[in-house]
């Protein structure tokens, strides 16, 4: 069915191809480039082709690059930069792309700058960003779960783990039991030092709730089970971390997103006008998020490759949007974002892309909006110091490893799939004492070519200080062309 519509889209769901093959194939065929990165005044493009930095901002960024994490401690982004940094294009692009807030950890910002320094030159246009063919449940979770089940792994659903028994004697820590509630029934499993126990300590989607077209999602402020499990474990030994650093400040870690299903094609023309791209082409449409600069909710939205779901009809479009400031009033809907129904969220978005009157009514009438409130969505960005996050395999642990976004992995960045997968690899290799190394984090921050290109980007592609002399120096040498 898709082949007819999307003539040259590479074969879908070919069993001979791996998830990675599919990922590379679709991104080679359709590399992401932003159609319009920033808009304001209800659809007008904002020039965001450079990062818009002044010399003193570049100085601050360089200082951050060179600083040591332990010296930065729990400083926030806001405490590190001068206030005018937050007026720059760079901050607008940065905060919307990564959901960074001024009160988040500057150490994490430093890690992002270094870890992704090779992406900085493409940042204004979201180049070299990869997107899966469909949503990540269809593209990743389904095949991964199937592979495991084919290999005999049991996944027991409706099973809540509430606590572990941990024997701590001398320097050794051994999990000797697991407490769980399975389909409402309490159970206990005995483990020995010969077994392995892997625990997710923390989740950014914990206690997330959905709303509907006529109902705002309810913000859940209770302590979710992922946190209480970590809390129970942490109480047994200081090397198991300090969960409250991450879960306590819901008003600093929450935001809201919403997904719109458009059944009517009227929205397609509006998107076409906005992006100059055909939403039905099977290629990226907005090309990553479009950020609405003058949205009081701090809203961004994206229309990914369509269909975004394997079972999505050809003429239906699925759009995603989010707002960084759920407690702010809207510009059209004079309510806090968090208090809005799905319908109101959509109206605010439509207003910002220049839709009004009869057309707005028609689009709203044929759309379904599902809002999602996530109280802990940026909890992993909260300011932290050493010891707040446990090591993947804590000192002395014989059979316990922590996994996910709230463990300490030198140099890597949270709010990524990669961080969780890396934690898993470290955990398995270490607990099994395998004679194999975990791949190193791509060392672009030590690569002079990437550093030069990133520096040029910071300077808005204007000549660098001293560039003229360095070029003269390198002329007719083997390093000519480096700059």
């Amino acid at each position: 069915m898709y082949m007819d519509l999307f003539g040259d889209i590479p074969t879908l769901e070919d069993p001979e191809r791996t998830v990675l093959d599919d990922m590379k194939e679709i991104n080679d065929w359709d590399p992401n480039v932003s159609a319009k990165r920033v808009i304001q005044n209800r659809g007008e493009e904002v020039d965001s082709s450079t990062l818009g930095l002044k010399d003193h901002h570049i100085k601050q960024l360089t200082k951050l690059f060179l600083a040591k994490e332990e010296d930065l401690g729990d400083l926030t982004v806001e405490q590190f930069f001068t206030p005018d940094y937050f007026e720059t294009n760079m901050w607008l692009l940065w905060r919307s792309m990564f959901a960074f807030q001024t009160w988040h950890s500057v150490v994490e910002m430093k890690r992002y700058m270094e870890r992704f320094i090779h992406l900085l030159p493409g940042m204004t246009e979201l180049r070299n960003i990869l997107f899966s063919r469909y949503n990540q449940y269809d593209s990743f979770v389904l095949p991964l779960v199937k592979w495991l089940e084919d290999h005999g792994v049991k996944i027991e659903n409706n099973t809540l783990v509430t606590d572990l028994d941990i024997e701590i004697s001398g320097k050794e820590k051994v999990v000797t039991g697991i407490h769980l509630v399975q389909n409402g029934e309490e159970k206990h499993i005995k483990t020995t030092r010969n077994d392995l126990v892997f625990v997710i300590n923390g989740s950014m989607t914990e206690n997330s709730t959905l709303g509907s077209m006529d109902k705002a999602p309810e913000l859940n402020r209770e302590l979710g089970p992922v946190w209480s499990l970590w809390k129970n474990i942490a109480a047994k030994d200081p090397s198991f971390g300090r969960p409250e650093v991450f879960y306590e400040n819901i008003d600093k870690t929450k935001w809201e997103s919403f997904t719109v299903t458009f059944k009517d094609s009227k929205i397609a023309d509006i998107i076409k006008d906005l992006t100059n791209r055909d939403p039905y082409s099977g290629r990226v449409v907005t090309g990553g998020i479009i950020t609405i600069k003058d949205s009081n909710w701090g809203m961004s939205f994206t229309l990914s490759r369509q269909p975004h779901f394997a079972n999505q009809p050809d003429d239906v479009l699925v759009l995603w949007a989010y707002g960084l400031f759920a407690d702010n009033e809207g510009d059209y809907i004079k309510k806090k974002m968090s208090e809005c129904t799905g319908e109101e969220l959509l109206r605010e978005l439509l207003y910002h892309i220049g839709v009004e009157g009869e057309l707005m009514e028609e689009i709203v009438d044929s759309a379904i909006v599902i809002p999602a409130m996530m109280p802990h969505i940026t909890s992993q960005f909260m300011p932290r110091v050493k010891g707040d996050r446990p090591e993947v395999v804590p000192e002395g642990s014989v059979n316990l490893a922590f996994l996910g976004q709230f463990v300490e992995i030198e140099g890597d960045c949270v709010f990524t799939v990669e961080y969780s997968v890396r934690s898993a690899m470290i955990a398995v290799y270490k607990l099994l004492n395998l004679d194999k190394q975990v791949p190193e984090i791509y060392p672009s921050k030590y690569d002079i070519r990437h550093i030069i290109n990133a520096t040029k980007t910071l300077y808005g592609n204007k000549p660098l200080p001293g560039e003229f002399f360095v070029k003269k120096l390198l002329k007719d040498t083997s390093l000519e062309g480096l700059l």
Binding site: W320, V369, D435
Partner: protein
């Protein structure tokens, strides 16, 4: 780091047949851990159990819905070429 390290197959750990693994959560972290236990740790999948409190797997990586009820993703993922651990994991077949 290159092929020499990455392509190396770890030796089978002694006594792996007698170990059991219990994993809490069915997000990508845990799914990956189960995968590495099998591929690199030579563990039999039958000795691995994952506990998930919900009746859906995948954790943060979600995507559900249909035309009647509407579709829902809480988020979408920006990724990049140098997710070095992730790409060594996603070499499994789609079906």
């Amino acid at each position: 780091m290159g092929s020499y390290q990455l392509k190396y197959h770890a030796k089978k750990p002694e006594g792996i047949e007698n170990k059991k693994a219990y994993l809490v959560g069915s997000g990508i972290a845990t799914l990956a851990a189960a995968f590495f236990l099998i591929r690199d740790g030579h563990m039999d999948g039958k000795n691995i159990t994952i506990f998930e409190r919900k009746n859906v797997n995948g954790g943060a990586l979600d995507g559900a819905g249909n035309l009647e009820d509407g579709y829902i993703i809480r988020g979408g993922r920006e990724m990049e070429e140098h997710y070095e651990c992730t790409w060594t994991y996603l070499v499994i077949f789609q079906h």
